[in-house]
């Protein structure tokens, strides 16, 4: 039985959430995104003034709101995992829907942000900063879309077979998407 909740487990008990295969994928994605981030930083170093000046044209409010939206989605998804372990499948399913809706809001806001930047003339070939901006946020957005598929699988599992592993898998992937955004937000929007 794996109904022991994570926080009440004795420290000697080690539980691997989701599957080992998923974690290999997540760690691989960490390495790939980590490489993107370091390459971005090296380019930034070479054109620091251009990057700082270009950064000011980003919508900081939109960046902050989207971060808060993803953090809220992670709360929904983390709680859904806990409720699944407690056998409260219907509530878990509702919270999974809440997490997914936050993901959709993130995509809509990102689409609006991109269209606003393009309308202002800041496009992919404008300069290196905007090239990285569209590349990093674009690859991340693709991960958000995949994450929504994972949450869809969780939803179906919670309705039908009620196995915990697929729910943990969807949640782990979703939190990875949230985590990568947190780093992108710091590098693109906030650092000087």
């Amino acid at each position: 039985m794996t109904t022991t909740s994570a926080t009440s487990a004795p420290s000697a008990t080690r539980h691997l959430p989701a599957t080992k295969d998923l974690w290999v994928f997540v760690l691989g994605d960490f390495v790939i995104f980590g490489s993107y981030f370091v390459i971005f930083m090296v380019s930034r170093r070479q054109e620091r003034d251009l990057f700082i000046e270009s950064q000011r044209h980003l919508s900081l409010n939109i960046g902050v709101v989207n971060t808060l939206v993803l953090l809220a989605s992670s709360w929904f998804v983390a709680r859904a995992v806990q409720l699944t372990r407690d056998g409260e499948f219907d509530r878990a399913r509702k919270l999974t829907v809440g997490g997914g809706l936050c993901g959709l809001v993130f995509i809509v806001i990102k689409a609006y942000e991109w269209s606003a930047k393009i309308a202002q003339g800041h496009t992919f070939p404008s300069n290196n900063f905007f090239m990285y901006y569209y590349m990093l946020t674009g690859v991340h957005l693709f991960h958000v879309a995949i994450g929504l598929v994972f949450l869809g699988v969780s939803y179906v599992e919670l309705r039908n077979r009620r196995r915990i592993a697929p729910v943990e898998t969807g949640a782990t992937y979703w939190h990875m998407v949230d985590l990568l955004w947190v780093v992108i937000f710091a590098l693109l929007y906030v650092m000087r």
């Binding site: 960490f30 902050v64 939190h175």
Partner: protein
């Protein structure tokens, strides 16, 4: 603290740190903004705290096997170390 309360506390902390970051960003300023090592290091420390909270709490690495703890902590150290080095170097 129940699991639910802990998750909610983590979410509140992550959101609060995000709002603090908002005050530090160049896009908030109308006047020209110059590079600032103290502000950038502060931003990176906040991002590191947020990243580690998500990994430890939401991804439940806190109670995961040792190999996963080492792998994720190692990734954070290498990533943020490389970011700081490429900034100040």
């Amino acid at each position: 603290m129940t699991a639910a309360a802990r998750t909610t506390a983590v979410w509140a902390a992550l959101s609060a740190i995000t709002v603090v970051s908002w005050f530090l960003a160049p896009a908030r300023h109308a006047e020209p903004v110059v590079a600032s090592t103290p502000i950038t290091v502060g931003v990176l420390v906040l991002a590191l705290i947020k990243s580690r909270l998500i990994i430890q709490e939401f991804m439940e690495v806190r109670t995961a096997p040792l190999w996963l703890k080492l792998a994720t902590e190692g990734w954070l150290v290498v990533l943020f170390g490389a970011i700081v080095v490429s900034y100040v170097w």
